[in-house]
Amino acid sequence: MALVSSILEKFNFISSSLNNFFRDKLEIKGFPKMKNDRWKYTKTIDIFSSNQERESFDLKANLPISKLGSYDFRYLDDSFAFLSLSLVKDIDFIKMKDEKLILGNSLLKGAYFKALVIEVEGRCNIIEKFTSTEETMFFPLTYIILKRGSSLSYTKLQEHSGSVVDNTLLTLEEGSRLEMVTFSRGSRVLRNNLKVLQKTNSESTINGIYSVDKGHLDNFLRVEHLDRSRSKQKYKGIVEKGRVSFAGSIFIDRSAPGTESHQLNKTILLDDEGEMNSKPELEILNDDVKCSHGATIGSINEEQLFYLMSRGVTRNEAKLMLINGFLNDLLDKNNREEVLACFKR
């Protein structure tokens, strides 16, 4: 508890009634403890270790941002989401219908708290790109509501260097569809809490690509099927150096018979200095479901490398081709160039 109040004080608590509400929640919950299994790889102490002043920034977006919206935060349960809501002056609100939203910032430097709610109707597309310097602390909370029958393609590009806990919550109302891909590089600390709640006949495809040659990346994903619905999650990545983890948690409620959920996590370790931990977690309160999960951790196949090299391709180029092949099913014409450019760097 000591940590909670010192953090809130340090970052200049403003105390609206909204802030107070979440401050209470945070004080009751506290920050994740060492023994919390879901926070095994990301330590609270590491997140707050850089000594930064609080800054504020205006979100750059190509659609109007309003401060007035209606929110229902009952599905939130993460300490860092509570932290952001204890400290933000306003919640940003964007309503979109059949539109494309481009979201981002210039390079962040300092300590930032951010809360954004997006309401999606019709067919929409969001491309979000955040970058940060090494000294940055950044706690974004993004809550996206997919209204009945809507569909959203959501690309999240994360090229951070600082300490980041990214909370993203998506609720999929009846018959809505989500296609999401997150691309992450390693950062000083990068923790993703991605939570997806699915109502009747909603569908989600949640993909992740990671390319880590330094630092820390902790992908924590939870999909909750509240009614009959479908989800697919595929996370693939390359780890050269640094520490990466993936935890995929699927919850299927008693009220969701006929639900289908499939999860896969595949990692190529390029170097002995890289570390990968992968863990599925299934919580299924229903017999009538189709559910699968799998995880593999391997290295670049030497026979494949030799085959390419025996044709004249250099070892480095051969590796790149194999990585490209490995990620092929997660790349499309929208993200291929951008993602592959990152591997060349």
């Binding site: 030497e302 085959y307 390419l308 044709r311 004249g312 391709v313 051969a318 490209n324 092949g325 990620l327």
Partner: protein
């Protein structure tokens, strides 16, 4: 002399596989290496191509542009750039990599090495089309992932396609005739014969199917990692009649 091998020994950590091989190929010659399963034929071709799994001792040199090069000091990709080509007994699958991307990349790697401008997708498609026709390979073949779900015959034809594309100086054909139907065998043999004269071939096989189509200048019998007998094409016929036990 395009290839000269002296007292080549190849071993893995716990096993000696090749035990003192001597071999010389003049430019344009076709040599066949025959031998029972497990005698070291694939190992010989892989070691020439530079497979990192084997510890090779002895000397291997190749003559390129009138200069003698010590092959052992070149990596597999550098050997390929010198003009070595290995057609694999078991071509490797590359999931997620389309055959078109692959063929274009291997071809461009050679252009790049020569300092020539690389080909874009359009130019390359034009370049590869007549080669596909020559091997009676369907266009759709290019969109599939390299060797994945290919039949045995398709894999071997894909190897032959790469050979045609790269125009190597020294070709090592490791059991190109196994898993190949009669029509494909005839096609592949035709390609080999068309390159004969410019290109030197080392044809590795454990039976002489392909030698009915491509008549070798020399035949060597490899048993237990040693060349126990060398001769002309008549030796292959003798092996066909009598097997390897008399050797």
């Amino acid at each position: 002399m395009i290839l000269k091998i002296d007292n080549l020994i190849a071993e893995t950590e716990d096993k000696k596989i090749l035990d003192g091989i001597n071999l010389s190929l003049e430019r344009g010659e076709v040599h066949a290496i025959m031998g029972p399963n497990g005698s070291g034929k694939s190992t010989l071709s892989k070691v020439i191509a530079g497979h990192p799994e084997y510890i090779a001792k002895g000397s291997m040199s190749m003559e390129v542009d009138l200069k003698k090069r010590d092959l052992t000091s070149y990596s597999p990709d550098e050997r390929a750039q010198l003009g070595v080509f290995l057609s694999f007994q078991h071509p490797v699958e590359l999931p997620g990599v389309s055959n078109f991307t692959f063929l274009k990349a291997i071809f461009n790697s050679h252009l790049k090495k020569k300092g020539a401008p690389e080909m874009d997708a359009l130019e390359f498609r034009e370049h590869i089309t007549p080669l596909l026709e020559e091997l009676e390979i369907d266009d759709k073949f290019l969109e599939r992932f390299v060797n994945q779900d290919f039949s045995g015959g398709e894999k071997k034809r894909n190897e032959a396609l790469q050979m045609l594309l790269l125009k190597p100086k020294l070709v090592l054909l490791d059991e190109i005739d196994s898993g190949l139907d009669i029509d494909s065998l005839a096609l592949v043999s035709k390609v080999v014969n068309s390159l004969r004269g410019e290109t030197s071939f080392l044809i590795v096989t454990h039976y002489n199917r392909i030698l009915d189509y491509v008549k070798p200048d020399f035949v060597h019998i490899l048993i237990d990692g040693k060349i126990v007998k060398s001769g002309d094409h008549k030796l292959a016929e003798e092996v066909e009649k009598r097997g390897y036990n008399w050797l």
